[in-house]
Structure formats: structure tokens, C-alpha cells
């Protein structure tokens, strides 16, 4: 199900990347973490991830100047529960910290099962 997919963890905790790597990489899913200060280096369309895991404070600018990234399904981690808007219902999942990692894995799998939008 996750085989061949690419999950990008935008900044945030290193543990998120480590857990996702440990669980998803053996299933053939690539997991990367991008630090905020180096996010400007990404410009190639080839690097468009399948899922973006991002903290709510970075959610608005993590896709800035990155072609095609705005349509990537996101899992937004925040401190308070946010109400989903119609636009974000389908492609964005919210998790409130502290969450259980099983919820994060479930969210990733559920977003990957959804029909992909055209980039």
C-alpha cells in the first residue's frame, strides 16, 4: 500500500522521521525530513512527495516556491484541534499533539488510499 511512496517530514521533531522510517521504509516507502532552513533548496518537480507531514506553524509556508507541493496531501500536527474546511477535508488530516504514532501511520495510509489529485 505504501510501497513506492515518498513521505516528507517538514522540520518538527526528529522522532517523527525516525519512527516513520522504522515503520514505512521496510514496506518500500521513502521517508525524508527537511529542515526549515534548507527547504529553499528544493525546487525540482521530481521531488514532489506523496505525503507531507508538517507542524501547523509551518503549514502555510512549507509549500511556498515549491512547484506542485501545494496539492500534496498533508498531515498537519498542531497544539489545538482545528476544524477542517471543505477545501482541506479530502487532502488534509489534523493531529493534535501529543498523538499516538498509530494515528499518524493510519492517517498516512488513509491519505495514500485516496484517489490522487492531478499535480
Amino acid at each position: 500500500m505504501v510501497n513506492g511512496q515518498h513521505v516528507v517530514v517538514f522540520d518538527g521533531l526528529t522522532e517523527t522521521e525516525q519512527v516513520l522510517k522504522a515503520i514505512l521504509e521496510p514496506q518500500g516507502c521513502r521517508v525524508n525530513r527537511i529542515r526549515k532552513q534548507h527547504s529553499g533548496d528544493i525546487t525540482s518537480a521530481e521531488e514532489i512527495p506523496s505525503i507531507l507531514v508538517v507542524h501547523d506553524e509551518d503549514a502555510s509556508h512549507c509549500t511556498k516556491d515549491k512547484p506542485g507541493w501545494s496539492k500534496v496531501p498533508k498531515i498537519v500536527i498542531g497544539s489545538v484541534k482545528k476544524r477542517s474546511t471543505t477545501d482541506t477535508d479530502q487532502s488534509t488530516h489534523f493531529l493534535v499533539q501529543p498523538f499516538h504514532y498509530a494515528e499518524l501511520i493510519d492517517s498516512i495510509e488513509s491519505l495514500l488510499q485516496q484517489p490522487r489529485l492531478n499535480h
Binding site: 518538527g12 521533531l13 522522532e15 517523527t16 525516525q18 519512527v19 522504522a22 525530513r33 507542524h55 498523538f99
Partner: protein, 572 residues
């Protein structure tokens, strides 16, 4: 410094009200406390104008004595140079360019909160009055019209009045730790100025509106055992009419009728004035003169000591006192609001950081659980590493908080600063490798021995190294370099931490050491650098930053080589 005997001295403090240590409070106990720039002083002032061993504060026969230790610039008490003198509550001690406020609750306990010494005596027959004079609280009518009213007020009396008002105004705005202390200071001045034997202040309780005895003072300390009767009817009259009153013959003043205890107390004259604030009545000031032979008073009547001039002055002092109370309450309210805001911010930041740690622990636990279920040792190991890492995070958070608290005192021991720097280099290797960062260390071979807090310096450097590694994480050829060197001329040991990360934006450099200011967003606590700066300042040093966007940052920790046995300056 905090030890105490049978007499409670724990409330005796020195508060820095001017100078580099502004806001620092030192508790004084019964052991002698050295004051100065030297590292071994109990009251260490980081003031370049202070001598290493500047002064000594000792506790003898229930009093604190300050003695200058032949300091270069001398010790000033309330603006006057001293050699050795007793300290009184509210004294200002000047050491170099620093000003310290001496506050001792215990010293004044005998005479400060003596509300129980005041007897408010009710008198039902209060409609007859032989009050000699009444004066409105309106300030203009009190002072400006003096000449018109009395006609022949001697010039020196006007000068005395102005001087008294000046002193009261000065007392009203000088630093104080409590409203009681402020009012006691004003009452003492008042008693001296109007020539009263004793006095008290009855203050309106902001919650209940009730006027309650609060401050008592007596000119003759030997008389402090006797109680002070205060006529309730006079107080009520003053509060209702908002006018100051003077009676020069308590015996024949019908307001005192039935107040047998007032006669027994030998009261000759009394004055009572309102303390009228900007918006409300804050209470009354009541002063009197007494005689130790009330029978003579009954026989011969009274000779006047209080004049109308005194009453006018007291009314003006009442106004000043009320304004002082209002200001004190306003400042207190502001302070409380700021304290609540700071507490709120502290709780929010710490909760956020603890939540991050909990999130990490959950990640580790999740992997351990998965590994155990699938019998995959590799997953268990990965999970355990995450749990261990977060356990360290909690440890560092707790240690940073303890370091920032006032409870910790630097434990100064001789040694080489290279030792903690090398320890950090070895400790941080694993973290650097994990983040793909090259960690290098170049220690100076000719670093002299120094006296420093080993754990403190370790923490100060560690926090900056952790930040540096975080800054270059994920960068190509990310590198962090630790260096030490010794500069003979300023006799300083330097520790440098450099990285080739993205640099710190210029607008953030100035506030980077502020508590809870973090450039790491949700991952940072904003405690680390504040702690590092606190520790380095405790050593008399400073941290400087050089940073260039895209090229990296360099933190330089300069610490004076502290060696009390071999001070570089023989003079101080």
C-alpha cells in the same frame, strides 16, 4: 548566608536597585557576608567599580553592621562614605556604581506592624466638639494660604514645612518592599516634624472599606509597651468631613468624653487628618502628645504644642501619604499583572516542551511495542534509543530550569576549562553523527588553571553546542568547531563555538538571550541560551555572537581567569 538564630533574620535582604545586577536579591543570615566583585563573596556584585573584597556585613547583637574593607572607591551609606556603621531598614548602600537597598523586616518587627497597640475607642456622645481647628484637605488651602490665615508665620517655619514635605515626598518615591514600610517611614518623619510623641495610621481596607489600624510609631521607644487610644468619633468625623482636626485640650474636648482610657493615657493634644487620594479616602493619620502625669493634666489643663501650622502641614502629609499608597497599589497591581503574564508564558513554554518530549517518548514506545509484537529486536533497539534520547531531554530541561532558578549557587573549584569542553566534545559526538554533522575540537595547550563552576560551565557550553548542531543539521558538510584560547592581557579564557549553518538573522541576535526566545520554533524551549548567559555572567564573563547569513555563527564565551589566590590586580 541564609542561616538563622532564634531571631528570624530570613527576611533580611539586599536588593540591587541600580547597577549591572539590577533586580538581584541577596538574602542575609547571621554569618558574615562579604560584598564585592570577588567570586567568593556571598554578595557578589559584578560591578567593575567595586573592589574584589569591598565590604563585610556582619550580624551582631540583633543588628547588621556594614564595614568597608579599605575598598578603592569606598562604601557609601545613604550618600555618605562610611567605615563601619549599623544598617537600618531602607538604607541605601552604594558599592561602586551599584546601589543596594537594605531591607530587614525582623529589625523593625518590634515597631512596624503594631496595629495591636492601637485602641479604637468608641464614644457615643460625639455631637459636641471642642475641636480647636479644622482644615480642609484641599492642598491649595493647606499650604498656599498659610500666610493669609496666620498672618505672621515666621519664615523659618515655612522653610521647615517645605523641608518636611520634601522629605515626605522623597520617602514616598524611594524604593520600598512593602506598603507598611513606606507608611512607617512617612509616619516617623511626621512625628519628628510636628513634634508629636507618637502616631498611627488607620488605613481603609480596599476590599471591605473598613478603616483599620495599621501602622504605629512612637518617638520614645521605651514607651512602646503602652497602648495608644484613638477616638473612633474623631476618626469618623475626619473621614466624613474629610477635614483635618486638632484638639489642644483632650481633657475638655467633649469628643473625648467617656474615653477614660484616653485620659488615663495622659493625652494632652491630638491631631487627626484624612489621607485623601486622587479618587478615594485611603485612611487617616493620627498623632498626639502625652504626659506621664495625667493628674497634672486634669488639674492644670494643657499647654499647646501643636499649632494650626502643624495641622496644615499634617493635612499636606496626609495627602502625600495617600498618593504614595495609591502609587504603591498601582505599581503592585502592575507587578502582579506582569508576574501572572510571565507565569503564563513560563507554563505555556514548558508545557509545550514537555509535550514534545512526551511525543518523542510515545514514538519510542510505539516502536518498542511493534518490535516486541513482531519479535524484531532492531525495532525495539530503535525505539529504546528514542526513549533514552527523550529521557536526556527531560534531564537537560530540569537542569536548565534549576540553573536558572535562584536556588543554585555556583560551586567554584580550581581546574582547566579545557576539561568540560573536552567532555562536551566527547558527549556530543553521537548526536553530531546522528545529524550528519562533523564535530571538531581544538583546545589550547597553554590554558592556565582557573577557578570556575565546572557543572555550570559544562551546561553553558553544552547548550550552545546543542544549538550549533541543530543549526547545521541536514546541511551539506555541516560542521561545528569547539575551541579554547587564553588572552593574557585581559586575563581571560575564551571558549569559541562556531558552525557553518544558516546564521542568525540580525534582528534576532539582540533578543537571542531572552528567556523563552527561541529560533528553533516549536522544537526550542528558549531556556538554553538564557541559562548559558546567566552562568557566564556569574563568572563575570560575557557571550558575544558573530553571525553571517548563509555562512554560519560563532559564539565566544569570555570568562575572566578567576583565581582568588593569585589576583592579577594587586590594588583591589
Amino acid at each position: 548566608m541564609n542561616s538563622s538564630t532564634g531571631k528570624d533574620v530570613t527576611q533580611t535582604t539586599l536588593l540591587v536597585i541600580q547597577g549591572v545586577d539590577l533586580g538581584t536579591r541577596f538574602k542575609l543570615g547571621t554569618d558574615p557576608a562579604g560584598v564585592g566583585r570577588g567570586v567568593r563573596n556571598e554578595v557578589r556584585i559584578l560591578d567593575t567599580e567595586a573592589s574584589r573584597q569591598h565590604a563585610l556585613i556582619s550580624f551582631k547583637n540583633g543588628s547588621y553592621i556594614i564595614t568597608d574593607l579599605n575598598s578603592s572607591n569606598g562604601t557609601l551609606l545613604n550618600g555618605k562614605q562610611i567605615e563601619s556603621t549599623k544598617l537600618n531598614n531602607g538604607d541605601h548602600i552604594q558599592i561602586g556604581r551599584s546601589l543596594l537597598l537594605f531591607s530587614s523586616q525582623s529589625i523593625d518587627d518590634d515597631s512596624r506592624y503594631m496595629a495591636e497597640k492601637i485602641d479604637l475607642i468608641s464614644n457615643e456622645d460625639s455631637h459636641h466638639s471642642s475641636i480647636t481647628h479644622e482644615v480642609n484637605h484641599d492642598f491649595d488651602s493647606v499650604v498656599m494660604d498659610t500666610a493669609d490665615v496666620t498672618g505672621t508665620v515666621p519664615k523659618h517655619e515655612i522653610q521647615n514645612d517645605l523641608q518636611a514635605l520634601y522629605r515626605v515626598a522623597e520617602a514616598s518615591v524611594s524604593p520600598t518592599i512593602s506598603q507598611e514600610e513606606l507608611l512607617k517611614r512617612i509616619l516617623d518623619l511626621t512625628i519628628n516634624t510636628v513634634g508629636a510623641d507618637r502616631g498611627c495610621m488607620l488605613i481603609t481596607d480596599p476590599q471591605s472599606g473598613e478603616v483599620l489600624p495599621q501602622i504605629y510609631s512612637s518617638l520614645n521607644e521605651k514607651k512602646t509597651g503602652s497602648r495608644m487610644p484613638v477616638s473612633h468619633s474623631i476618626v469618623d468625623y475626619v473621614l466624613n468631613k474629610k477635614q483635618g482636626v486638632r484638639t489642644s485640650d483632650a481633657q475638655h474636648d467633649q469628643r473625648f468624653e467617656g474615653g477614660r482610657s484616653i485620659l488615663q493615657a495622659g493625652i494632652r493634644e491630638a491631631m487627626c487628618v484624612p489621607m485623601q487620594g486622587r479618587h478615594e479616602l485611603m485612611g487617616v493619620i493620627y498623632v498626639d502628645t502625652t504626659t506621664s502625669h495625667p493628674e497634672i493634666l486634669l488639674k492644670n489643663g494643657s499647654s499647646e504644642k501643636f499649632s494650626e501650622e502643624h495641622l496644615r502641614l499634617l493635612v499636606a502629609i496626609g495627602r502625600q501619604s495617600a498618593l504614595a499608597i495609591e502609587n504603591y497599589r498601582f505599581q503592585n497591581a502592575m507587578l502582579k499583572a506582569e508576574r501572572f503574564a510571565a507565569m503564563g508564558q513560563t507554563i505555556a513554554t514548558l508545557s509545550h516542551h514537555i509535550k514534545n518530549i512526551l511525543q518523542g517518548v510515545r514514538g519510542g514506545s510505539y516502536l518498542i511495542d511493534m518490535g516486541l509484537n513482531k519479535s524484531e529486536e532492531d525495532l525495539v533497539r530503535k525505539g529504546w534509543n528514542i526513549v533514552e534520547k527523550n529521557q536526556n531531554k527531560i534531564y537537560h530541561l530540569v537542569m536548565d530550569m534549576l540553573t536558572f532558578s535562584t536556588e543554585r549557587k555556583p560551586a567554584l573549584e580550581p581546574g582547566s576549562i579545557n576539561t568540560p569542553v573536552k567532555d562536551i566534545f566527547e558527549l556530543m559526538q553521537a548526536r553530531a553523527e546522528e545529524f550528519g554533522v562533523q564535530l571538531k575540537c581544538e583546545l589550547s595547550n597553554d590554558l592556565p588553571e582557573s577557578v570556575f563552576d565546572h557543572e555550570g560551565i559544562h551546561r553553558a557550553v553544552l547548550n550552545i553546542v546543542i544549538n550549533a548542531i541543530d543549526a547545521v543539521e541536514g546541511a551539506e558538510k555541516g560542521m561545528v568547531l569547539l575551541e579554547t584560547t587564553y588572552l593574557e592581557k585581559p586575563d581571560q579564557i575564551m571558549i569559541m563555538i562556531s558552525d557553518n549553518g544558516p546564521g542568525i538573522p540580525e534582528e534576532q541576535i539582540n533578543k537571542i538571550f531572552n528567556l523563552f526566545e527561541s529560533t528553533k520554533g516549536s522544537r526550542g524551549t528558549g531556556i538554553g541560551l538564557a541559562v548559558s548567559q546567566k552562568i557566564i555572567r556569574e563568572h563575570g564573563g560575557e557571550i558575544s555572537i558573530e553571525s553571517e547569513g548563509g555562512k554560519g555563527s560563532r559564539f565566544t564565551l569570555s570568562v575572566p581567569r578567576l583565581d582568588e589566590d593569585h589576583p592579577p590586580e594587586a590594588s583591589s
